[in-house]
């Protein structure tokens, strides 16, 4: 293993180079831009043979990605925030057309007010689209997740697109040591994509994306639901083969010192690294605090999360998003799907820095077992 110091954006680009997609339509947007730049350089330098399409908007980027995927080849694109929102129409179409596109989303707040900084509102707002969603904790996981995402998306029993979500700036622009795997190992884990039957080929003409009357639409949507639920077995298999080849074991969730914990924090993405430090401090003081990190958000790992948190007296769920008048989305899904009373905490919107003092405040506030939502880290004068 050779570690190199790089940003999560570069780590994603390195993963894409290893996955070797045929087509990369991409439009730059802060804080995703350096992904597009690294990939453009790889292609220009001849390190990748992909067709790099410089489109005029994100709507075009995902449209070109969908068109290319429709011809039965491997495709990559990347975006962030307003770009993802502009893609919204085609995001749903890509899942419905069962195109195994892999896209990186550099998580950034949505306007207004205009912000370039991190929260997860952009990808969370696409949660009903039928895409799989993985939230990475660090650059290494970002790289690894791209490879796993292709493997799962392209499985003939799944054929749904994947979004690998990385926190804007906190991961995209943070450099730390990352292991870039060898091409030979990656080829073993991720063979070239072979489309099954529904792809565009002049020798075998067919139409994809046709008008569907009420006799067929529900079946198509039901098939998507079955495929997304069925993807869980495919993800489990991919994770275990990934661990065999690369030595890094991923799961739907990560349990950090949570097995015997009275108080459990549930969160997604890069904030979990800071939470682990805070958990260690509480454990040093003899307090049974733990973390459950949700890594795969779609398909939603209901059983895994429930098994991990059901024994705790106090549960706090962190959301870097807000479904107005309802609360954080992860918090509400956990309370809706599980027999628990979890407290919800809205944190880190628009790049508000989340400090250990905030995590400690949350741990203290989970002692009131209610399902209410509280905002943490607001400026005092705004409360």
């Amino acid at each position: 293993m050779v570690l190199k110091v790089m940003s999560a954006n570069q780590a994603i680009a390195e993963a894409v180079k290893l996955a070797n997609p045929n087509v990369i339509p991409v439009y730059p947007i802060t804080p995703q831009t350096t992904i597009s730049e690294h990939l453009a350089k790889f292609v220009a330098d001849g390190d990748m043979s992909a067709e790099y399409i410089r489109v005029e908007s994100e709507h075009s980027a995902i449209s070109a990605a969908l068109g290319a995927s429709g011809t039965g080849v491997r495709v990559f694109t990347a975006t962030s925030s307003q770009g993802l929102a502009l893609m919204h129409e085609i995001i749903f179409a890509a899942a419905g057309l069962r195109a195994p596109i892999v896209m990186a989303d550099a998580n950034r707040a949505l306007s207004a007010p205009l912000s370039i900084w991190n929260d997860q509102q952009d990808s969370i707002s696409e949660r009903d689209s039928g895409w799989m969603q993985i939230y990475a904790e660090n650059g290494q996981e970002a790289l690894d997740s791209i490879l796993i995402a292709y493997r799962v998306s392209e499985d003939h029993s799944v054929l749904l697109p994947s979004m690998v979500c990385i926190d804007g700036f906190i991961l995209t622009h943070t450099v730390d040591p990352v292991d870039v795997p060898g091409k030979g190992d990656v080829d073993k884990f991720l063979p070239p994509y072979k489309p099954d039957h529904a792809y565009l080929d002049p020798k075998r003409p067919m139409s994809i994306g046709t008008f569907t009357d009420p006799n067929y639409y529900m079946e198509a949507r039901h098939d998507m639901e079955l495929a997304l639920e069925g993807a869980k077995d495919v993800i489990t298999k991919a994770n275990s083969e990934f661990a065999e080849i690369f030595g890094r074991k991923y799961d739907f969730i990560e349990k950090y010192r949570s097995d015997d914990a009275d108080t459990i924090i549930v969160a997604m993405g890069s904030i979990c690294s800071t939470i682990k430090d805070v958990v260690d401090e509480h454990r040093d003081n003899g307090e049974k605090v733990g973390l459950v990190r949700v890594r795969v958000f779609r398909p939603f790992p209901t059983e895994e999360i429930y098994d991990a948190i059901k024994g705790a007296s106090n549960i706090g769920v962190l959301d870097k998003n807000i479904s107005f008048s309802v609360g954080g989305v992860l918090h509400n899904e956990i309370n809706a799907k599980m027999d628990v009373k979890a407290n919800g905490f809205i944190v880190g919107l628009g790049g508000r820095d989340i400090k250990p003092t905030h995590i400690n405040e949350i741990i203290e506030k989970t002692k009131n077992t209610t399902k209410t939502t509280q905002w943490i880290g607001l400026n005092k004068e705004e409360v």
């Binding site: 943070t174 730390d176 800071t274």
Partner: protein, 177 residues
């Protein structure tokens, strides 16, 4: 763990400096992390960047509020930003300035005329690599050899050579005090 905060203006290279420092520390066998905090996305706006160095893998991902060391790329920032904020007791501050700087209680201030060195050697007032040379000398948190190596990896050809030379000069000058 050593925590460093850089203060610069957009376009001055504070972010690159934080990354070079992280990579140099890694070259020395340490774990590292570096990340920026941009104000608004335009040249001249105040920018912060952070580097963490440790013997263990680094997890925490919030900004640096209690730095061991502060590096200031532009002394004009002293009037608009509290660069000393949260500085640890006995912490060191390296400032690019050719003027006097008011001493703040508890802070050990090292003044470097990095702009002067930059204009002499590079021909442009870009001071980030020069301050890293001074940083290596003042803090001994990173080796000058690693700093020079990463500077040459970051900037190819003549630009890399000149930046390396400038960093070395600032290192030697700081050694003499």
């Amino acid at each position: 763990m050593i925590e460093v905060r850089f203060h610069g203006r957009g376009g001055q290279g504070a972010v690159t400096a934080a990354e070079i420092l992280a990579k140099a520390a890694f070259e020395d066998g340490k774990y590292c992390q570096a990340f920026p905090f941009f104000g608004v996305e335009r040249r001249g706006a105040p920018v912060m960047a952070f580097t963490r160095i440790d013997d263990q893998p680094i997890r925490r991902r919030y900004q640096v509020y209690k730095p061991d060391y502060v590096v200031v790329l532009d002394d004009g920032l002293l009037e608009v930003v509290d660069v000393f904020s949260g500085l640890k007791e006995g912490g060191k501050v390296i400032i690019n300035t050719s003027n006097g700087v008011e001493t703040t209680a508890g802070a050990e201030i090292h003044k470097v005329d990095a702009t002067g060195i930059a204009l002499d050697i590079l021909g442009v007032p870009i001071v980030n690599t020069i301050l890293l040379g001074a940083f290596a000398s003042v803090t001994e948190a990173v080796s000058i050899d690693a700093i020079i190596k990463i500077i040459k990896e970051t900037f190819s050809g003549e630009v890399g050579e000149k930046n390396a030379k400038a960093a070395r000069l600032a290192y030697e000058a700081a050694k003499k005090g």
